[in-house]
Amino acid sequence: MRRLLYIICAVFIAQSCETPIDPKLPENGSDVVVYSFYRPDSRIQMDVFNAIPILDVNSFQRLENLEVRLNVNGDFQEVLLEENGSYISSILPEEGDTYSFELMSEDGLVSASSYIPESVEILNATLSRELVDINIGEYGYPAEVTFQDPAGVSNYYSLEVFVEECSVGCSNQTIEGELNEVLIEDLDVDTGGTTDVIIGGGPEAIDGFRYLYFEDDSFDGEVFTFNFYIIPTILNFDRSDDVKVRFVLKSLTKEYFDYLVTSDYQLTLEEEGSLSEPVQISTNINNGMGVFAGYNYNVYSLQP
């Protein structure tokens, strides 16, 4: 369908023209961009940047020398320590607690709040050592992860796969190893009309994803098995089969999930040259951009 549109447009564009213009853009508001995704047992790290005006050719700069105040459940906890351009907490966040921050920028007070949701346990995970041919012409190791979705609430998930080479011994750490890209092959009707196998970012996406994310709209409260493929990059049984594979099921807050969906989808639409409405990046930062969000996780290890 897209090709058809291009062709039709091309016919007309043959005699049409492109003219550089300088549209009157609306005010952007604050230029402060904050990113922080925190989990239990790991210090909170916040990265703060300035946004770049759209026609500006400068690169991003981290904002330094800011006083970033951290609150826990509404009470002031500490001022974050600036370290290598990031702002780091001394405390380790805990499940169920609500965290918020405040910082004063040139554009005024910037703040946000989030919490750490409960983790969801992986009940079972399997991984096949047999490489299979996927519809797009790519190969992958079929894998699946099963978990019990908590009922009655909206849950948001992300799944990552870490692979650790164990020929010289394996770590007992919960998350260790290198992130291996994965693919999901989902036969779906694309509402955009470009029907084909929907594989991650579409038929052209053959590089895989660092993580897969999804919500529980269609399986709320059920035991759910998620099927996907692990691309033979780091995990490659032809080269070495002495590996430990860790499946990390993250429980995300809505703000984290929305950020992932919107930021990835914006890039996808741009790559496709879609005529759809551009995607606005979701944010929970007051007077700023980015996202400040907690998550939890559960790890299931396999040594196939």
């Binding site: 012409g137 009309g193 897969l212 269609s218 606005q280």
Partner: protein, 861 residues
């Protein structure tokens, strides 16, 4: 002259015997005065508002005896006083109905009924005015040309714009009349007496009716006359993107237009992505657009009713017309099957873009060959079984087809083939049975079928030999989405008297929707079918409306529309009151007001807002509630110096609108479309000015709209209201047509509109890729601070055309030359942000259509 002749006859010959012929015994008061003034020494005094009173002069009168005027003046509600040689005429205040003479009394409250048709072709004339001369009151013909008139006098006048009015004296005992009006040959004369009810007399507001003959005279895009593009020129109607035939009425979406072709809903009115509409003007009899104040007989969509009536076919003689244009040709034939009883009409159109491009591409040796065409076919048969029963069978089918073939085998061990085929189109058909049950009751039974279907077939087949390190690949996908309606409705018109026209009826429709189903095969997968399941939605409505005169100067159309829908286990019901008021405030001036509530049970999920065939029709469900709107409108209407003027203000609020979620469709393992949509509301308000000149050598209109339209969705645009994509503060259309002489016609259209609202980025920000091993910021995303928060440049364009008509032995031919965008304004179609070169980022305006000339050859026989 005619008036003088009549008076002369009356004054000298005395009582005149009338027959059912064009001879009459009535005249306007002003003509009467003019004659007396010319032939006597009397001076006069009279109020201005009786000038157009019609006098019925049955008795001999003596010009020198003003007392002899009394009787017929009183019948018209005029009193006379004589003071020496001064005649003082006054309006009788208590007068409501004329005094009925003894002779007239014999036929008092007699009901006559019948049909008004084109005298040459037998086509029904819709909205023709049938009046009882004695009272000056009348009725209009319905969609089938039927009328029922309560006659207090004995004279009926029938008129319709573009036709010679006809007047007859009703014979005693005869109640069934068939009027055949003859098209006026005086269109080029200075003044043509009009005829249909004038705008200030009509109760309905926010309604415009167009005749295809007028539409055809206007400049066209690429030589193709387009009904929908003409509707875009009316106030309150916004066009979509440049060149598109999509219409957006009073802030509504494209899916909120109830487009009826012979009473059958049409779900996709676009060919070629909206550059042309599916309606072939040669097959159309009349087009009406209602933007507000909807009568109770309409329902199912929120924002407009576009009621298109196909031609019925010539009952008397064989005729045809056609055109050969730059991109398409068309031919329409009609004639009697059984003269005076049965007629047919068939009309076809096809483009030939692919006939030129495909051979050219093949000849050039291109690996990829693609082609596109569309066609449509209209057909209708109508049969008069007896004076009470008439049957119609109408059919429409249209199809767009795009095909694309790729083949590469120039290198050894590589054999790549791709094929895609995209088809979309509508089929509609209707069977109608008209029956005149009594002189007052007319009924119409309609059975309808409508289907819109989109199909896409793609095959990819790559075979590689041993020298190529790549696996063979095969994928085949068939996708289709469709909406199919089966419906039956019964409508009744009950003409209680000239003051009450009651309409009532019921309708039931079964909608069958398949919002996206695919079957897939590949080198690893056997046949798999997936996608949304079929959904049945049963919709019904019942309505009752009465158009009546509350007082002499106040008319009302009051109605109730009750509709409901059943989908799966869920039922929805909506009671929708409708009211329109016309209060005459001065001569030729009236104030109008209306309120209408509308409900819509099926929705269009759009990807881009430009009217793609891939847009999905989806039903209301448990989760997705029906769209509802309320609209109030207030306006004034007038007719003076031969022009219709109306000014209307409206406010419309809509609820349960749907849009795709941000990010819907991407890596979404839940394929249910219901979970990919957001729900919100919308508001629109504005003022519309419409000045139209319908008759004479110069015709045309000026339309101006000031409006503001917003949408508000809790989960879009951070929950803040945002301008609708086609929100335009100012919108102007100037349409002018001038008949230089019988052979040459020139016309021009100028449009101006505030630039479209568009979403543009204002900043770049780093994209966080934050997996469990840590953060990275390798990519950038764009910050869009507000949806549709920027405006494109204003849009304006001038189109011109000139046609040269010539009579030939076989009929008539015309050469039509036109130019689209005469001063080649570079109007923005969209704005692109180009950041391919990091040091040369820029916004670019893309303009699609510079000046485009066109020529077509038209013929009629």
């Amino acid at each position: 002259m005619r008036a003088s002749l009549l008076i002369l006859l009356l004054l000298t010959v005395g009582k005149v015997a009338f027959s059912q012929s064009s001879m009459d015994n009535s005249m306007l008061f002003k003509d009467f005065i003019a004659y007396i003034d010319e032939n006597s020494d009397y001076r006069f005094s009279y109020p201005d508002d009786i000038k157009n009173k019609r006098l019925i002069i049955n008795e001999r009168i003596n010009i020198n005896d003003p007392d002899s005027f009394k009787e017929f003046l009183e019948s018209a509600g005029i009193a006379i006083k004589v003071r020496k040689n001064l005649l003082i005429f006054k309006k009788v205040k208590v007068f409501e109905e004329p005094v009925i003479s003894e002779q007239q009394n014999e036929v008092q409250n007699r009901v006559v009924s019948g049909f008004v048709r084109d005298g040459n072709s037998g086509e029904s004339l819709i909205g023709a005015h049938v009046i009882d001369i004695a009272t000056g009151r009348g009725v209009t013909t319905n969609l089938y040309g039927f009328f029922s008139l309560t006659l207090t006098g004995d004279t009926i006048e029938v008129s319709f714009i573009g036709y010679e009015p006809q007047r007859i004296v009703a014979k005693p005992g005869v109640s069934d009349y068939e009027f055949g009006l003859i098209p006026s040959t005086k269109m080029l004369s200075e003044v043509v007496i009009t005829s249909e009810r004038e705008i200030h007399e009509v109760t309905e507001m926010s309604k415009v009716t167009l005749q295809p003959e007028k539409i055809k005279k206007l400049p066209v895009f690429m030589g193709e006359t387009d009904v929908m593009k003409t509707l875009q020129l009316l106030p309150g109607v916004q066009s979509g993107n440049e060149g598109s035939s999509g219409i957006y009425v009073r802030g509504g979406g494209q899916d909120q237009n109830l487009i009826l072709l012979d009473g059958v809903p049409v779900y996709n009115a676009n060919h070629l992505f909206g550059f042309f509409s599916v309606f072939n003007a040669d097959a159309i009899n009349q087009v009406s657009l209602i933007k507000g104040g909807f009568p109770a007989r309409y329902g199912g969509k929120l924002s407009s009713v576009i009621d298109i009536q196909m031609k019925e076919g010539n009952m008397n003689e064989f005729e045809g017309e056609g055109a050969v244009g730059l991109i398409a040709s068309k031919l329409t034939l009609s004639g009697p099957i059984n003269q005076g009883k049965t007629s047919f009409m068939v009309s076809g159109r096809r483009t030939y873009i692919d006939a030129l491009t495909v051979p050219l591409m093949k000849w050039s040796g291109a690996d990829r060959v693609f082609g596109y065409n569309f066609w449509d076919l209209n057909a209708k048969i109508n049969h008069i079984a007896n004076p009470k029963d008439r049957f119609y069978l109408s059919f429409y089918s249209g199809r767009d087809k795009f095909y694309n073939d790729y083949k590469f085998n120039q290198i050894a061990d590589i054999n790549e083939k791709e094929h895609s085929n995209i088809n979309w189109g509508n089929i509609t058909s209707a069977f109608r049975w008209n029956r005149r049950f009594t002189d007052r009751l007319f009924g119409n039974l309609t059975a309808t079928y409508s289907r819109y279907r989109f199909e896409l077939e793609t095959i990819l087949d790559y075979n590689y030999g041993e020298s190529v390190e790549s696996p063979d690949l095969y994928r085949e996908n068939d996708y289709f989405s469709n909406i199919q309606d089966l419906g039956v409705k019964m409508d009744f018109d009950y003409f209680l008297n000239n003051n009450h026209q009651v309409k009532f009826g019921v309708n039931a429709i079964n909608h069958q929707l398949k919002p996206g189903i695919s079957s897939f095969r590949s080198h690893t997968e056997t046949d798999t079918t997936f996608g949304s399941t079929k959904v049945d939605l049963n919709e019904f409505y019942a309505y009752l409306e009465d158009e009546f005169k509350l007082f002499n100067s106040t008319s009302l159309n009051v109605g109730l529309h009750f509709s409901g829908a059943e989908v799966a286990s869920r039922n929805y019901f909506y009671l929708q009151p409708r009211i329109s008021l016309n209060q005459k405030v001065a001569k030729n001036w009236s104030v109008k007001a209306s309120y209408a509530r509308m409900a819509q049970y099926i929705h269009l999920l759009v990807n881009s807002g430009v009217g793609l065939p891939t847009d999905l029709w989806v039903p209301s469900t448990d989760l997705v509630k029906p769209q509802v709107s309320d609209q109030i409108a207030l306006g004034v209407a007038s007719t003076f110096i031969g022009m219709e003027v109306s000014v209307e203000g409206y406010y419309k609020w809509m609820d349960n609108l749907i849009e795709y979620k941000e990010g819907a469709g991407f890596l979404d393992i839940d394929s249910e479309w219901e979970h990919k949509v957001e729900f919100g509301k919308g508001d629109s308000y504005g003022v519309e000015l419409f000045v139209q000149k319908k008759v004479g050598r110069s015709t045309g209109w000026v339309g101006y709209t000031w409006s503001k339209t917003t949408r508000e969705f809790p989960n879009l645009n951070f929950g803040k209201p945002f301008p609708y994509r086609y929100d335009r503060r100012h919108d102007i259309s100037v349409v002018y047509n001038y008949e230089l002489n019988k052979r040459i016609n020139v016309s021009g259209v100028w449009v101006y509109g505030t630039g479209n609202a568009i979403t543009l980025p204002t900043a770049s920000i780093p994209k966080a890729t934050w997996d469990s091993s840590g953060p990275s910021y390798e990519e950038f995303v764009k910050q869009y601070p507000g949806r549709n928060s920027t405006r494109m440049q204003d849009y304006h364009r001038l189109d011109l055309s000139i046609s040269f008509k010539k009579q030939k032995r076989w009929g008539e031919r015309s050469w039509v030359f036109g130019v689209y965008n005469a001063y080649s304004r570079q109007n923005p179609t969209f704005i692109d942000f180009d950041d391919t070169k990091p040091n040369e980022k820029q916004f670019k305006k893309i303009s699609l259509f510079p000046i485009i000339p066109n020529v077509s050859y038209q013929f009629k026989f």
